[in-house]
């Protein structure tokens, strides 16, 4: 298929690659165009006829991929001496992506010999061609619009998880088979079968209930054991008590030849519980798989402590150090969230993760190494975040509190029943009624309903642009009363945009060619706006960090220089031809279009808002003014640790905090906060740390998640009311002595089914 075919087939103006509406252009950005060209060059244009309308992810940055970026993959593969590895690919989402990726061994056999994609988990299993390097694979995937990450799994965590998963599934299957058979054996009894055959069926169902209870239900034994030893209450405990009572009562009845058998209810209950557990575990794992991923960046440290070296232009530092001589421009985005470089002078500290953008003067730039590898600031920060992951405390679930209350009420009624009948001289009858009561009134409606509700809501969240990683996210976010927002990338778009000034059409290729050679945020903004071109070859090019760019073309000198004037938060750059001003270009890190409404909505809900930013005071104040926040809510010049302590300070005053951010510099605060959300375009560390992340630009996702949480509360309240009613009615039957085994067998699964139906329908009606 030809490119022309696609262009003709387009009806409205939208990006050919990602489907974002545009103002008549073929592509929304140069990133999409680059990806489109790569796909075309590999002969995989069929991708566009396969993909669903307008759902392709926009590449996060103009694809400037090089094998160099993925050099750490080579190091890791060499150390491990393997040729098969797995990567996590961002942006795979539909069968067209599956087709594209699994086609790679055919179109690029010199790099990849086999590729298998797990669509649900976005994981690609790759076999490397004999003479290829892993970094080539990384660059290839990146150029196709799937920036990827190597999965390093030293502890075998993934493998353990997979085995655990299979074990749960096996248990579920066995429990289902046993429940089905017990059910079949019980039908003749309900139909009124008497005599020896009835005895045979009774004993058989009893025999089948034994493995169901003791083998499939062993996790309930375990959690009850934990409760007895350490006092850790969970909803398992009342369920286990009900199951144990049902089993013992049925066993006694079986031996004494009485008709009170609950084996069918018991096995069905175990099956349903395991099914809901399995559902929830699958959901939880999607989050776990991601947080298990490690940084492959801790390769061999190339430097020794105390050694001095000269950084290469445009490179990322891989050690901490002190600037000993000269001055240099460094981009410190991981620390401050700002991508514009700052000037550091001799004596200033530099950190691993800084990008060296050029010397600030004529002196040689020299850095003395102070820390390498795991001792660098960034490595320590990541380690700290990982540790906090492990010690995170258990959430006291809302439904568990309800279950506790229910259990206490039921126990009280049961004791009262025994007491009443005891004093009237009918002790045995009292005990029987109390046992029936314990069996039929169990909080299993919740135990089954809550996982179902969480699963359904997570699905809905995805369609609203929200990927939930922490299963408790929706419940937690419902309790917050303070939101901390990052500025750059969260409230604002995160990168400056070229908003004013026009360049004459004849010089646009020159401007574009110059900007393409620089990695300054303003240059990137120019590249993103102008069509990329390859026809122009500059005769010379020089970048003076902090001052500007200059180039020679067609024997004229062109220059892009910073202009001192600022107005309304715009920064200006002047474009010169032989010293003559051609254009004055204005740049601005624009607010997200929904920033203001989001803040207003939050304040309307009575939720406090503060902004924590690493940027300077005036820029932060400007944003505060335009979203309508007072100056004391705006905190500027905050380092990652400061953000975390600001969150802690808020928590100390009793606030429940939601942290919204996008960068490594927010990650620590995200972990400290009660719940966190990473916005679209965030860095991988932020995405991995956050309890949920947004797949759509803007900060509206905060409001969306609050709405989903309201939804959850509403449905939970409804099922609680139903459960209370059901329990009250069945309580009446049990205490009055009318609870026959048949009635119990009907009521128990019926209650769970009703809760299911209620949840499914109340969500559907809103969706």
């Amino acid at each position: 298929m030809s490119a022309a075919h696609f262009i003709a087939a387009r009806t409205a103006a939208s990006c050919i690659h990602c489907g974002t509406p545009t103002q008549g252009e073929e592509f929304c950005c140069s990133g999409c165009e680059a990806v489109y060209r790569v796909i075309g060059r590999l002969g995989l244009s069929e991708f566009y006829s396969r993909k669903a309308e307008g759902v392709c992810f926009k590449p996060a940055k103009p694809a400037s991929s090089s094998a160099k970026q993925y050099a750490s993959w080579d190091v890791w593969l060499l150390e491990q001496d393997v040729r098969r590895f797995t990567v996590f690919a961002t942006g795979v989402h539909c069968s067209a992506c599956l087709w594209l990726i699994e086609r790679l061994p055919q179109v690029a056999p010199e790099i990849i010999t086999d590729a298998r994609l797990d669509l649900a988990r976005s994981i690609i299993d790759i076999e490397l061609a004999p003479d290829a390097r892993a970094s080539q694979v990384g660059a290839l995937l990146d150029s196709l619009g799937y920036p990827s990450e190597l999965i390093v799994d030293p502890g075998g965590g993934e493998e353990k998880l997979r085995r655990e998963n299979r074990r749960q599934l096996v248990d579920l299957g066995i429990a289902g088979a046993l429940a089905g058979n017990v059910m079949l054996l019980s039908i003749p009894m309900y139909a009124g079968l008497q005599g020896t055959n009835a005895r045979l069926f009774e004993w058989l169902s009893g025999a089948l209930a034994i493995p169901s209870f003791f083998y499939c239900g062993r996790s309930f034994f375990r959690s009850t054991g934990a409760f007895l030893r350490r006092g850790v209450f969970s909803v398992d405990v009342p369920i286990f008590i009900a199951m144990l009572v049902a089993f013992m009562l049925s066993a006694v009845s079986l031996i004494r030849g009485r008709p009170d058998l609950y084996f069918d209810s018991l096995t069905a209950l175990i099956f349903l519980l395991l099914a809901s557990r399995y559902l929830l575990a699958r959901l939880r794992q999607e989050g776990l798989v991601q947080s298990n991923r490690l940084y492959a960046k801790t390769g061999a440290a190339p430097y020794l402590i105390g050694e001095r070296f000269e950084p290469t232009l445009g490179s990322e530092l891989d050690c901490d150090g002190i600037l000993r001589s000269g001055s240099g421009w460094f981009s410190r985005s991981f620390l401050t969230g700002e991508s514009a470089p700052t000037l550091l002078r001799a004596g200033d500290a530099v950190r691993a993760g800084f990008f060296f953008q050029g010397s600030g003067g004529s002196d040689r730039v020299e850095i003395e190494v102070t820390a390498t590898g795991a001792n660098t600031l960034i490595a320590r920060m990541i380690e700290q975040i990982r540790c906090m992951d492990a010690q995170r405390s258990r959430l006291d679930h809302l439904y568990e509190r309800w279950a506790k209350a229910l259990l206490m009420a039921v126990t009280a009624v049961a004791l009262a029943t025994v007491g009443f009948f005891w004093t009237n001289g009918q002790a045995w009858s009292g005990i029987e009624r109390a046992l029936a009561l314990l069996i039929v009134t169990c909080p299993c409606g919740f135990a089954l309903g809550v996982p179902l509700l969480t699963t359904l809501l997570s699905r809905q969240a995805v369609s609203r642009g929200l990927v939930i990683r922490d299963v408790d996210f929706l419940e937690k976010i419902g309790t917050i009363n303070h939101v901390c927002l990052d500025k750059t990338g969260t409230l604002t778009r995160g990168a400056p945009e070229w908003v004013s000034g026009r360049c004459p059409a004849r010089l646009q290729p020159v401007l574009s060619a110059m900007a393409a050679r620089s990695c300054h945020p303003f240059s990137r903004a120019i590249v993103a706006k102008l069509a990329p071109q390859t026809t122009i070859v500059l005769e010379s090019f020089e970048e003076k960090p902090g001052i500007g760019l200059s180039a020679k073309f067609d024997s004229k000198i062109y220059a892009l220089e910073r202009h001192s004037g600022t107005a309304e938060a715009l920064s200006f750059v002047v474009f010169l031809e032989d010293g003559r001003e051609i254009a004055l270009l204005g740049f601005q890190d624009a607010l997200q279009s929904d920033a203001r409404t989001t803040v207003t909505d939050l304040l309307d809900r009575g939720i406090g808002v503060s902004v924590l930013s690493g940027d300077n005071r005036s820029a932060v104040a400007e944003v505060g003014k335009s979203v309508g926040l007072s100056a004391e809510c705006m905190r500027s010049r905050m380092l990652p640790e400061d953000k975390a302590s600001a969150v802690r300070a808020l928590q100390a005053t009793g606030a429940k905090v939601l942290m919204v951010g996008d960068g490594v510099n927010d990650a620590l605060a995200m972990k400290t906060a009660d719940v966190s959300l990473a916005v679209y375009g965030g860095l991988e560390t932020a995405l991995k740390t956050a309890s949920a992340y947004s797949t759509r630009p803007g900060c509206r996702s905060v409001i969306e998640s609050l709405k989903l949480s309201d939804e959850m509360k509403r449905v939970l309240r409804g099922s609680f009311v139903f459960s209370a009613l059901y329990n009250a009615v069945s309580c009446g039957f049990a205490v009055s002595g009318n609870m026959s085994p048949l009635l119990a067998a009907v009521l128990m699964p019926l209650s769970a089914l009703t809760v299911f139906t209620y949840i499914a329908f109340s969500l559907r009606s809103k969706a």
Binding site: W99, D118, R121, R166, G173, I174, A177
Partner: protein, 55 residues
């Protein structure tokens, strides 16, 4: 009714066979990824019927 003494053990045995088959397939990882194969089968098919055809 004595047929019951044959049929019941037989049905239980049959059930056990299926459970065994299920356990084997689960342990060999056939249920690890439920989403991708469903998509993959569509791809192979349309590829075989002619990759160059414009649909």
């Amino acid at each position: 009714m004595s047929i019951v003494y044959w049929m019941v053990p037989f049905s239980l045995l049959l059930g056990a066979v299926f459970v065994f088959a299920f356990v084997q397939s689960a342990r060999s990882g056939q249920y690890d990824d439920l989403e991708t194969p469903a998509n993959r089968i569509l791809i192979e098919e349309s590829h075989d019927t002619g990759g160059t055809n414009e649909r």
